[in-house]
């Protein structure tokens, strides 16, 4: 299951992987209103397929996904694209989760609900920091 939304200004640059559809969709809309184009995937495998297919400048990843653990998704993506900026955005991540994700190369670990401005800031940094 996946849904890809192309933003107004061309190819999507950010991929959102979250099974909370309403949240993912709305977040995508709000980011695109701020000039950041988004693709959305509602489960891990759809997300991984998209990552393999296209190139993104950043990733917003939920930890609790129906088919695969978020940490595992992070590991696989890091194998495909080492250095891709990934922001973990989860309902309530434990400190263990945070340590694990940061170790595996996540750029930030945020809890929901998130301040959009901060997310945009993080993603903008990521864009600029992308090699």
């Amino acid at each position: 299951m996946m849904f890809v939304m192309t933003g107004e200004s061309g190819d999507p640059t950010i991929l959102i992987i979250d099974d909370e559809r309403t949240f993912a969709d709305t977040l995508a809309k709000r980011l695109s209103m701020r000039g950041i184009d988004c693709a959305v995937a509602y489960d891990a495998y759809a997300g991984l397929a998209l990552v393999a297919e296209r190139s993104f400048t950043g990733l917003v990843l939920d930890l609790r996904l129906p088919d695969l653990d978020g940490c595992e998704v992070l590991r696989r993506i890091m194998r495909l694209h080492p250095g891709l900026p990934v922001v973990i955005l989860t309902g309530h991540g434990t400190e263990d989760d945070e340590r694990e994700c940061m170790k595996n190369g996540a750029r930030a670990f945020l809890n929901k609900p998130v301040d959009l401005a901060r997310l945009v800031q993080l993603l903008a940094q990521n864009e600029s920091g992308d090699p």
């Binding site: 709000r30 209103m33 088919d67 929901k112 609900p113």
Partner: protein, 590 residues
């Protein structure tokens, strides 16, 4: 090494004796004191009883041996005295018979010859006082001695007839004509002319007394002769004067030396020995009596008893001390270990309570944060639309976002309701329930799914299972949860078995077994905790089993779980046939 008094007291008396009377469930014994007393008592009894029994039997045996020894000694002494006395009398009778045969009646008739015979008898044997010859007509025809007794007629005296009949005669001691205690002995024989004559002699009792004396060496010993009629014959120290009635009864006849222990007429404990004297196979009128006070034996026995008692008391005290010290040591160790264990348990309980609280908070935060995130984004988006877009006409999109917000609010509401329902008191509506029907109804919700997923379902209800009085609504919720969980755990080809049994009286047991994926060992302890879930899908809130657990407790039942990864899981619910009025604590499980 010096020990303080306090340490010594603590070695003997257990530390917990004055401990607070608080009872903790982690203690090995509810109260250590009776257990300690019981242990000390049992050990002491099992050690002391054989000791005491042994001491008593051993003392009894020693006493018997000593008494037997004492009687044997008395018997031996009495036997010897009897032999000496009998020998003395026999010797004199023999001398008299020899004289009668060898000197002859003619010679004995002459006073000078008679005097010579007497002096020879006195010289060779001793003890003779006088001697006389009595003819057929019982008249003393010849006599030699200190008195003038020639011509005395003995026709009226018993001895003459007896002597004639038996050949010999020994008289009792008597005073007779001379007022001097003496014994008459006589032998009868036939003269060459065919007439009958008797040789009669008087014996001085002092020789007899002299023979007996060595058999009563101690001051308190007494040896004397008494007649068969109970008259004292030779001087007795304690049992009457000579020729008076003895203070002792005549002992029963026996042809051998006898002995017995008893108390004499003076109240003195004595060992008595006696023997009926016989001489050359014929009876004499004498009974030899030997009496020895038991003073020494009694003193010895009482010393023995005192010794035994002292030994028993000393060893008992030692044994009791050792047992008490050992028991106290062991019990103190146990008590200390229990206290350490108890402290650890209490802190573990506290830790697990805090951990549970932490997990609960985490769960609530997570479940609430997701819808909050949706609300956040939707509200943010609405604001974006209202502020960032210059042109209007976003009516549909606004409605969509508001719906999303309302939906999320509802989700939050469901979670808080679930939480409250989980904690709050629920009113039960009790009525008779047939579990078979109820479970069948619950299974019907899953029938289509089972067909579609190829899962076999069987319900096995034993015939003797009674209807139970319970809340059907709650029961339905319980089995919906358990069966729902089972379906989530199973794959194609797995099977679900529900067994209802009435093994215990007043209790019905329901086993819900699936052959699904099973629960890993590390999660088994936590399955009934709120918000604990291993399901990756967002199905449910993680409250299902926690609520089920509380519902079953409220219905007065129990739930247990057994599981093995890859083999399946069995939830066992035990419900009372009739719901008791017990109170179940409210609140969060775990």
């Amino acid at each position: 090494m010096s020990l303080s008094l306090r340490e010594v007291v603590h070695a003997v008396w257990p530390r917990f004796w004055r401990a607070s009377s608080k009872r903790y469930s982690y203690l090995t014994f509810t109260d250590y004191r009776p257990m300690w007393l019981l242990m000390c008592g049992l050990l002491s009894a099992s050690c002391l009883l054989p000791l005491i029994i042994h001491a008593i039997t051993d003392y009894g045996l020693s006493r018997k041996t000593v008494e037997r020894e004492e009687r044997l000694r008395t018997e031996r002494l009495a036997s010897n005295a009897r032999r000496s006395t009998a020998h003395f009398l026999q010797e004199r009778l023999d001398a008299l018979a020899f004289t009668a045969h060898n000197v002859g009646i003619e010679a004995l008739g002459s006073p000078s010859q008679m005097a010579e015979v007497l002096s020879l008898l006195k010289q060779d044997f001793g003890g003779f006082t006088d001697i006389g010859l009595v003819d057929d007509s019982a008249r003393q025809v010849s006599y030699s001695g200190p008195y003038d007794l020639i011509g005395v007629d003995y026709g009226d005296q018993e001895w003459f007839n007896q002597c004639r009949a038996h050949g010999t005669f020994i008289s009792e001691v008597y005073r007779g004509h001379r007022d001097e205690p003496h014994i008459v002995i006589a032998v009868a024989t036939a003269a060459p002319n065919g007439t009958y004559f008797a040789l009669r002699a008087t014996l001085d009792t002092s020789r007899l007394i002299g023979i007996l004396a060595p058999y009563a060496p101690a001051d308190q010993d007494d040896v004397f002769l008494m007649s068969r009629t109970g008259v004292v014959q030779t001087p007795s120290r304690r049992y009457g004067k000579v020729l008076e009635e003895a203070l002792l009864k005549v002992p029963p006849f026996s042809d051998r030396t006898e002995s017995y222990s008893g108390v004499d007429p003076h109240g003195v404990p004595v060992t008595m020995g006696y023997a009926y004297l016989t001489s050359a196979g014929s009876e004499t009128p004498f009974i030899l009596v030997l009496s020895r006070p038991r003073t020494e034996t009694i003193v010895f026995l009482s010393q023995l008893r005192t010794n035994r008692v002292l030994v028993v008391v000393a060893s008992s005290l030692f044994i009791i001390l050792v047992i008490t010290v050992t028991s106290s040591f062991m019990f103190n160790r146990l008590y200390d270990a229990d206290r350490v264990k108890g402290g650890a348990l209490l802190s573990m309980q506290e830790t697990s309570r805090l951990a549970s609280l932490g997990r609960l908070s985490t769960g609530v935060a997570h479940e609430i944060n997701n819808p909050l995130a949706v609300i956040n984004e939707s509200a943010g988006y609405i604001k974006d639309l209202l502020t960032m877009e210059r042109h209007g006409g976003h009516h549909d999109e606004l409605v969509e976002q508001v719906d999303a917000i309302l939906d999320s609010v509802q989700r939050c509401g469901a979670i808080t309701t679930g939480l409250l329902g989980f904690a709050r008191e629920m009113n039960l509506h009790l009525k008779p329930v047939r579990l078979e029907d109820l479970i069948d109804r619950v299974l019907s919700f899953h029938r289509k799914e089972a067909e579609y997923r190829g899962i076999s379902v069987s319900l096995d209800v034993a015939e003797d299972v009674p209807s139970i009085v319970s809340d059907p609504g709650r029961l339905q919720q319980i089995f919906l949860n358990l069966i729902g969980n089972a379906f989530q755990a199973m794959d194609t080809g797995d099977s679900l078995t529900i067994k209802v049994r009435n093994n215990e009286p007043d209790k019905v047991r329901v086993d819900v077994s699936d052959t699904g994926c099973g629960i890993p060992r590390e999660y088994i302890q936590r399955v009934f905790e709120p918000f604990f879930t291993t399901k990756v899908e967002r199905q449910g809130t993680g409250l299902g089993l926690a609520i089920t657990y509380n519902l079953i407790r409220k219905l007065g039942g129990e739930i247990k779980v057994k599981s093995k990864v890859g083999e399946g899981t069995t939830f066992t619910v035990v419900l009372p046939v009739a719901r008791g009025e017990e109170d179940v604590d409210e609140g969060v499980a775990g």
